[in-house]
């Protein structure tokens, strides 16, 4: 078992899949000669050449759409967005093209493509560079959406995404690229649509994904000191969603706190909270809570931007409220 960073895990997955299948290629801004804006593609240009590690102009709509076209014509593109904020320029190609081509062609076309890059706030980046856009993608039938929080999941899920015959939106996070974790040296894949139990517990289920999972685990540790055993469920895959795992866990604990850094209105978090409320109604001992990003554009000031995001303290408070132990 090797300990590697999230960034290295993604790089290893890309490298292995490109070596395995000549149809797989990477394209995006700065992926080649610059070695990746966040160094995820480091070393791949020299190994695979400029046709397979293809630098693009700053034209998200154009190169995202070109990826879609290459996919329907039989290649397996991985399109890197420098951030999901910039992908908003390419929404037409993802939502109107990639997500619908199989359906509106009556099943004749496949769109095996991965759109990936950092999502969610980092630090001091202001409103336009700090958005958590998982909900936008997850809203759309025809897309699959993955949001791994650990290096092992990043590796195993990216490999599955590249081999999948449907368009996959893959959410990374700038502040997680350097986080480390154990990743088996032997090749493995992680199937989409399976949640993982990041920490077992019996008193309450904290549901999260992507970077806020780290805050959820921190909250669980703090709660343990108070004698509360919180189970932390990492969704990992937002579409398809592992509803069985959700209901099984909440069915046992009877309490649920959903943590999602997205804005709270019409979000992944609000949808998960609705599903749990509906399906686990008879088992719930408290209303399902949602700890979300605040409903505002992100401010620049550091204290304010931290106040706008889910934190271990906010999660802990929500758990205590769900247990009627509010301090």
């Amino acid at each position: 078992m090797a300990v590697i960073t999230y960034r290295e895990a993604l790089n290893r997955a890309l490298d292995e899949e490109m070596a395995r299948d000549a149809r797989v290629f990477l394209m995006g801004e700065e992926v080649g000669e610059y070695d990746g804006a966040y160094k995820v593609s480091k070393g791949l240009l020299s190994k695979y050449g400029a046709d397979r590690v293809r630098d693009t102009p700053i034209a998200e709509l154009g190169f995202t759409g070109a990826g879609v076209g290459a996919a329907i014509a039989g290649l397996r593109p991985v399109v890197e967005w420098m951030t999901h904020n910039f992908a908003l320029l390419a929404v037409d190609q993802v939502v109107n093209e990639a997500a619908k081509m199989r359906y509106m062609s009556g099943g004749q076309l496949s769109v095996p493509i991965v759109f990936r890059g950092p999502n969610g706030p980092a630090e001091y980046l202001g409103s336009q560079h700090s958005q958590a856009l998982a909900s936008l993608w997850t809203h759309v039938p025809g897309l699959k959406v993955l949001a791994p929080a650990t290096p092992a999941d990043a590796y195993g899920l990216l490999k599955s995404a590249i081999r999948d015959d449907d368009p996959v939106v893959f959410l990374e996070n700038e502040l997680m690229y350097a986080t480390k974790g154990e990743v088996a040296e032997q090749e493995f894949l992680i199937p989409m649509g399976k949640a993982s139990t990041a920490r077992p517990g019996k008193d309450v289920t904290i549901v999260s994904f992507s970077r806020p999972l780290l805050a959820a685990l921190e909250a669980a540790e703090s709660l343990a000191a108070k004698g509360i055993e919180a189970e932390v469920l990492d969704l990992r895959s937002l579409r398809p969603l592992d509803e069985d795992a959700l209901y099984e866990s909440v069915g046992r604990t009877g309490r649920c706190v959903v943590v999602d850094e997205s804005w709270p209105v019409a979000s992944v978090g609000s949808h998960v909270a609705y599903l749990v409320s509906r399906e686990c109604f008879d088992f719930l001992d408290a209303p399902v809570a949602l700890v979300s990003g605040e409903d505002i554009p992100m401010p620049y000031n550091h204290a304010l931007e931290l106040a706008a995001q889910p934190s271990a303290a906010k999660i802990e408070r929500a758990v205590l409220r769900a247990l009627y132990r509010e301090e």
């Binding site: 046709d51 070109a66 990826g67 039989g74 093209e97 062609s105 009556g106 025809g142």
Partner: protein, 327 residues
Amino acid sequence: MNDSLLAMLESMQLIRTFEEKAGMMYGLRKIGGFCHLYTGQEAVAVGAVSVLDLERDYVLTGYRDHGHALALGIEPRAVMAELFGKATGVSRGKGGSMHLFDPAKRMLGGNGIVGAQIPVATGVALAQAYRGDGGVTLCFFGDGAFHQGALHESLNLAKIWSLPIVYVIENNQWGMGTNWKRVSSEEDFSLTAAAYGMKGRSCDGMDVAEVREAMLEAVALARDGREPSLVEARTYRYKGHSMSDPGKYRSREDIEEYRKRDPIASLKGRLTDEGALSETEWNAIVARAEEKVEAAVAFAESSAEPAPGELYADVYAEPRALPRAAG
């Protein structure tokens, strides 16, 4: 040469007959939604497709796509059944008038978002170049789509990557109710090619022989020289933008002027004058077109609706569990 002209005359007449019948069927409410007829523009699709290698080339276009589908040799009955929303339609009844797909016949859509097919087509050409399979992509769009940023991003990508693609502007002079001269900074669209370092040329889109000649040059450039280029075909649509548009923004005289240059009547006159087409032969062309279109309507009428189980089919590659019933 006369053989190919006769074949093109027959293909244009089939499209004309089909579209007139589609308009009638729309009036009878057999066809719903948006239905954009190609009447008047037949020479563009037919002349362009006549130079393709249908083993390896591809066509993508916008929502006025019946003519391209028929020019590619897709059966009129499969197109009519699609307009009727039947399971036997070319897109299994799930695409509709704007989304005709048949990869086996080299038709990759059929696109309802103005200009969205342009980046996709660019990506199809990227796949052809990546594989080095000698294929060429034709990307059709109108004067309305010309102003979309997607086109300009795509022209740049095609040039820097030396893609085997021909961008064909079907300038029918009206983007819905807006004359192109009101909204174009430059009336000669072909000049734009120079800004991207590629060859641009104009041709008379009412003259199928001229379209064919322009496309022979452009396709050879793409196939043999890996040089993208731009061809503007100046044409005219006889009907409204869609069936719901009475076209009050232009005069009857304008339409009559163009009808005097009708692509079918002109070619018929030329071939007759040259002694290459007798009245008997022409009558046979007309009769064959009518017979095929009548058979197409009968086929569409008698075909089954998509089964209810089709609702959730082909959203993803793998069959998908139905959503849990609410409540």
